[in-house]
C-alpha cells in the first residue's frame, strides 16, 4: 500500500460507507409513499383533534380537560392500577422463569460449554438446541400479548390471570432474545478458567456467566417490567384485567375527562417505576 491508496481507502466517501445510507433512504421514501404518510393531512386535521379533545360543551365530562376528580372513581382507578402492577410483576417472574433457561440454550457460546467438542454429535446438538430455542422464543414474542390474552381468555375466562399468562409468555420470548444477546457478549476468559477447573455446567453458569451478565440482566428485566406495566394497562381492552378495562370503557362512552384521569395515573405510575428502576440499575451496574 502506498500513501495514495491509503488516502483512497481511508476516505469516508466510499461505496461501502455511502451505499447503506442510500439504501435506507430509498426504503424510507418508498415506505412513506406506500403507507400514504402525509404531514399536510395532519396540519389540516389539527383542529379536529382539538375539538375532539375539548369535547361537546353540552355533554358533561366529554372534554379531556380538566381531568375528572371524583373520590370514589379515583379509588377504583388506583385499585385497578395496583392490580395492573401486580399483573405485570407476576408476569415478569413468569417470563424470567421462561427466559432464563431458554436464553442459555439460545446462546451459542453457552452451548459450547455444554457440547465443547468438534464431533458430529456435539455439533448437531449445538445446532438443534439453538434452533429449537430461537424458534420457541420467536413464537412467544412475535405473537402480540393481546392475541395471547384472547387465546388464554378462551381457555380460562375473563380476568387478570389471562392477562398475566399472556404477558408472561410474550415477555418470556422478548427477554429470551435480549438475555441471549447479553450471554453472547460475555468475556470468554472467566468461562474458560472455570471450565478448566473441571466445574460442572450449572456451576460454570453460576460462577462465570451469571456474574458477568447480571448488569445486563437487571437492566433488561427492569425495562421489561416498565414495558409490562404499560402493556398490562391495555390488556383490559379484551377483558384480561387491570386498569385497561376502565380505560376502554371510558373511551367507548366518550367520558374523556375520566380517560384523562386514567392516563394521568398510568403516566405517573410509569414515571415512578422508571425512577425506581434507575436507582436499582445504579446499584447493580
Amino acid at each position: 500500500m502506498n500513501l495514495a491508496q491509503l488516502k483512497k481507502e481511508a476516505s469516508p466517501f466510499t461505496f461501502q460507507y455511502i451505499s447503506p445510507l442510500v439504501f435506507l433512504t430509498l426504503i424510507f421514501i418508498i415506505s412513506w409513499q406506500n403507507t400514504e404518510m402525509n404531514l399536510e393531512g395532519l396540519f389540516q386535521g389539527w383542529h379536529n383533534m382539538q375539538s375532539y379533545m375539548s369535547g361537546n360543551p353540552d355533554i358533561e365530562g366529554s372534554s379531556f380537560f380538566p381531568p375528572q376528580v371524583i373520590g370514589s372513581d379515583l379509588r377504583l382507578y388506583l385499585d385497578a392500577m395496583v392490580e395492573t402492577i401486580e399483573m405485570a410483576f407476576v408476569a415478569l417472574i413468569l417470563s424470567i422463569m421462561i427466559a432464563f433457561p431458554l436464553s442459555l440454550l439460545a446462546s451459542r457460546n453457552i452451548l459450547t460449554i455444554l457440547f465443547p467438542r468438534n464431533s458430529a454429535f456435539h455439533r448437531l446438538m449445538r445446532h438443534a438446541i439453538y434452533g429449537v430455542s430461537i424458534f420457541l422464543a420467536n413464537i412467544f414474542r412475535s405473537i402480540n400479548e393481546i392475541i395471547w390474552a384472547l387465546l388464554f381468555i378462551s381457555a380460562i375466562g375473563l380476568g387478570p390471570m389471562a392477562g398475566i399468562l399472556a404477558l408472561g409468555i410474550h415477555t418470556g420470548g422478548v427477554l429470551t432474545k435480549l438475555l441471549a444477546e447479553g450471554n453472547e457478549s460475555i468475556d470468554p476468559g472467566p468461562v474458560e478458567a472455570i471450565v478448566a477447573t473441571g466445574a460442572s455446567f450449572p456451576k460454570v453458569i453460576l460462577y462465570a456467566v451469571l456474574p458477568q451478565t447480571m448488569p445486563h440482566f437487571v437492566s433488561m428485566v427492569l425495562y421489561r417490567f416498565e414495558s409490562d406495566v404499560r402493556s398490562a394497562s391495555i390488556l383490559g381492552f379484551v377483558g384480561a384485567g387491570g386498569i385497561g378495562f376502565f380505560l376502554f370503557d371510558k373511551i367507548r362512552s366518550f367520558e374523556n375527562s375520566a380517560v384523562s384521569t386514567i392516563i394521568f395515573i398510568i403516566v405517573v405510575t410509569v414515571w415512578i417505576i422508571d425512577k425506581i428502576s434507575a436507582a436499582i440499575r445504579r446499584k447493580y451496574i
Partner: protein, 282 residues
Amino acid sequence: MIHLDNVNLGYQHETVLKNINLEISKGEFVGIIGLSGAGKSTLLTSMIANVTITGGPYHVLGNNISTISSKKLREMRSRIGFIFQGYNLVNRLSVLHNVMSGMLKSISIQRAAIRHYSNADLEKAWEYMETVGIEQIAMKRCDELSGGQRQRVAIARALAQEAEILLADEPIAALDPKSAVQVMDILWRINEKYQVTIVSNLHHIDFAKSYCNRIVGVADQNIVFDGTAQQLTKETLERIYQTGMNNHLPSEEDTIPDTWSNIPSKHCPNINQFNPIPKVAA
C-alpha cells in the same frame, strides 16, 4: 505425570507442532520458551485437551487425552490448575469468590448457588490467599485490583483446586517488573512447598533461567531444546529465536531492564531464602 509420544498438536485445519516427544515428572518446574506463534500456548493448552491432538499416545495424569471421554476430561481438568496471561477472573466477584471457584468441583450445587461455603472450605481458601499474600483484600472486587494482585488471585484459585499440575500461560507477560518477580517467586514457592508440577510459558529467558529447573525450547514446529538452564547455550537460543533471520537475539539487556536485578538465583537452598511475598493491605 505428562507423557507425549510422537504427538501432533494444532487446530481443526492446522498442525502447529509435529512429532512431539516430552516427559514431565512430578515436582518439576518447566519453562517453555520460543517465539510468539511458535506453539508454546498450543503445547501448554494441549495438556488440558484444548487443542486437536493426533498421533500419540498422550498421557496426562494417567489418562490418554487424545481419546478421553468428556466426564473423565472434566475429572482430569479438576486436577490441573491453569493460570492465564489475562488472569481470566470474574471481575464483578470478590477475591474470595474467585478463589472459591477453584474448589467448585467439591462444593455442592446448593452451596455454590447461594455462595455459602463450609468453614473447612473457608479455612482452605484463607491458607491459599495467605500463601500469595492477598488475604487482607479477600472481600474486594477483582476489578478494583492491580494486574499483579489479579494474577495472585488467579494463582490462589489454581491452588484452591489442589491441583497436581499447574499450567501457566505467560503469567508475567502483562505485569510490571516488580509484580513479575513477585508472581514468579510465588510459583517457585508453590513448587517447593506443595511439590506441584509447574509448566509455564515464558517470554523472558532470564526468568526461565532463574526459576525453572528445566527449559523446553520450541521452534520450527518442534521441540529443539530440552535441558537445564546451564545447558542453554547462545547457539541454542539463536536457533529457538531464529536470530539468523533478523540477527536479533533477546539478550539480558533486551529482556530484563537494570531495575529487574532482584531476581533470586536459581535453586534457592530453601524456601525461607525467597524474597518475602509482600502482603496486600486492605
